[in-house]
Symmetry: none
Subunit: 452 residues, 2 copies
């Protein structure tokens, strides 16, 4: 099977390129047709590797694609989850190469989605293909569930899941949509942060005013919004929303020790990000801040005149998108309520406030003793020829939490990406060697998991 | 002379209508010929009322028209400034009557430029005419300077002024291009605010990051920009930039008393602007905040993801346009320096800061004890038969400051318009009674000023 994968690798790259050419941006209405094409492409892939019961489920949003192979009697069932949708590509002028015109350069494949998640999930398709073509069967039962709304919070899958629990029933959910701890370091991620994503709109006067004629007499929505944002965190980096930390599970000593053993350098990260120094919550090392502590970030802000030059406007409105990363056991809806309550309490009467909860997801923590987790660690160790490390991750994959909650399936996050792969940014890319590690790890996992 | 003006008023209206028929829109290339026609029309008017040395100066833009009468030996010199250009007329369908087809209705003349500034400056032409026809001479020396680029920022006059200081030398500059404080209220505006307009750009990481993967470890440029903005003013509405208020000339008791006598309602303004309550610097009433106190307003802000929906980006950059309205004797360049110094002092090391001074203008204050101001107040009082009010204005008219700086001439803003006259909007109009008040005020001013 290894030979099969190796000898077909060049073809796989071409297939992946075709996949990456589809502009499957889920958040943009104008890519509706691209999303349909992409879903059909995924379904074709499933059929080509020998999956059965392939189905493109229509939803209110973008299609969900399903396929399975369930002939490994007495063996566990693995649900492979991935997503065919990608992030928007703006600012376009920062891409060295067009985002939907993939190229191979420096041992990497460059395109939007090269890593997140088209490139990463591709490995699982190929490991199944290798089994089916070489052995004619799989060592475990397998289900593929590939959605098109991960980047916009999986609204359709969230509705689909509780209605299709039998269809999706599995012992573990295998996902490659995260990063390795470091290059060439097999990594199993056992924790994810959750998310509450809010939007605040501040309205001052009922129309844009001349800042000369009215400046000084009326609240300026941008200044007021800035004041609100500045009051969300204190100088020590703590979030000031009352009761925000109430449900936070403290890190165990073992975890803190584990994190401290990992090879990690603040200086290097600062250098890589081009900042003089890092910045975060006092009392925690960077890995703890990233993986196990809640955070608050503005994701966008806009108001008034934003083009070149000067316009003396006192604008009517300003708005900001603000998200909080959550850790177990913070509840996204509860955090949204606390956020709104606090923001309303600090806003002056001279403005009107509109606070919306755009979306959210729960944080996650998998037991390190689970069989699937152990099999995954063995598989990646074998693929990489190195000891697997256990990490948590700062990002959120809300739907993973739903798998755990609703299917009682253990999530296995077998990430093949690197933090330097520019996902969600211009010049996204994926190392070809990691594409290969992904195929091998997937293959070994199916083998290892069937033995347990 | 009053009789002369009264008996000719009907003819004047016809003359003004002809003036208003010329489509002198300075910002539109297709009206280039109309601008030339209009400049020649102004020159003819000057000759017709008995001015000498009438000259249409060609510029890189639209012509500047000059004329004078300098035979009042030992008497002061008045420079009358006005502009023959008008604003564009779109949206055309909102005009009840075509903008360049003036009509008289409801005691008002309706047309583009009826107020701003053809109608307002017309009064000065007619007061000079009355003197010359009835008495054969003027009680003071007079110079008329009428430009065609006021609505586009006076670029040609700004260049013309320093090169023609001798030609334009005067003791005061008489301008009717502002509004009365209220209907039937003779108003002399003796102060204008200045401006310093800055832009701050905050750079955090060298690229847009995923807020999950990096949130908590690195400074977020939007959050940091918000913190900076929030530190520009304190809770009492004071600007926190050190030394910012050093050069502010305090309001005199007389001024504060004057402002408090003016009929003005916070409640009404709040209602008109659609806000629950006004907001401004503590310790000052609204008119003081608007006219005589420096302010700070964000005019624009942008960073990160600003379209619909959610994107979990931790952006690389965020920027804000921030302007300060200045009062005498604040210096725009000095304020720009203080602003930059302070902003740099409060910014954390984890971000990079770019601060630019986009443009500025000096504030203006004509001393209430100036002879021209006193003469103007007496003149309007006599014309209206009511006590003159002294106001300042929150906005800036940069060319007026240049007159004061370069010619050492006291500006007299003798506005005859009303805020409800729809200047710059469809259905611009000017009350015929205010046209007459303008003629009389101008006439009395020349008389009063010659006596002092």
């Amino acid at each position: 099977m290894i030979n099969y994968l190796n000898s077909n690798f060049e073809n796989y790259i071409e297939e992946l390129k075709d996949f990456l050419r589809i502009k499957s941006i889920s958040s943009k209405e104008e890519h509706k047709d691209d999303m349909i094409n992409c879903a059909n492409n995924v379904a074709d892939k499933m059929r080509n590797i020998g999956l059965e019961n392939v189905n493109v489920f229509q939803t209110e949003g973008h299609p969900i694609v399903y396929g399975d192979w369930l002939h490994a009697k007495g063996k566990p069932t693995v649900l492979v989850y991935g997503h065919y949708d990608v992030q928007p590509v703006d600012p376009l002028d920062l891409w060295d190469n067009p985002p939907f015109d993939p190229i191979i350069k420096d041992g990497k494949i460059w395109a939007r989605g090269a890593n997140d998640d088209k490139g990463q999930m591709f490995g699982h398709f190929k490991s199944v293909e290798a089994f089916m073509k070489v052995k004619g069967e799989l060592p475990v039962n397998i289900k593929f569930l590939i959605e098109g709304e991960e980047e916009i919070g999986s609204p359709s899958l969230t509705k689909f899941l509780p209605k299709n629990k039998d269809l999706l029933k599995a012992d573990c959910v295998l996902i490659s949509d995260t990063s390795m701890f470091a290059p060439d370091t097999p990594t199993i991620t056992y924790g994810l942060r959750g998310l509450t994503y809010m939007e605040i709109e501040v309205t001052g006067p009922n129309r844009d005013l001349h800042s000369g004629s009215f400046g000084g007499a009326v609240a300026n929505p941008i200044n007021e919004l800035a004041k609100i944002i500045s009051q969300l965190q204190d100088k020590r980096g703590k979030i000031k929303i009352p009761n925000f930390y109430d449900d936070v599970v403290k890190l165990t000593k073992k975890e803190r020790d584990n994190f401290r053993k990992l090879k990690y350098s603040d200086k290097q990260l600062a250098q890589e990000l081009g900042v003089k120094q890092l910045q975060g919550e006092e009392g925690y090392i960077t890995l703890e801040r990233l993986w196990a502590r809640p955070t608050l970030d503005c994701n966008g802000i806009v108001g008034g005149y934003t083009e070149k030059g000067a316009k003396t406007v006192l604008p009517s409105k300003a708005s900001a998108k603000i998200s909080m990363r959550l850790v177990p056991n913070q509840d996204p809806k509860n955090i949204a309520k606390l956020f709104e309550k606090y923001v309303r309490s600090i806003a002056p009467k001279s403005i009107q406030l509109n606070v919306s909860d755009l979306h959210g997801g729960s944080p996650l923590l998998s037991p390190l003793t689970d069989k699937a987790v152990i099999a995954a660690a063995k598989a990646t160790e074998k693929a990489f020829g190195k000891k697997t490390v256990y990490t948590r991750e700062g990002g959120s994959i809300p739907i993973v939490v739903e798998f755990m909650k609703q299917l009682k399936a253990t999530p296995i996050l077998m990430g093949m990406g690197l933090d330097t792969d520019n996902i969600h940014s211009p010049n996204e890319h994926f190392l070809l060697k990691n594409l290969k590690y992904g195929m091998l790890s997937s293959l070994y996992f199916l083998e290892e998991y069937s033995k347990i």
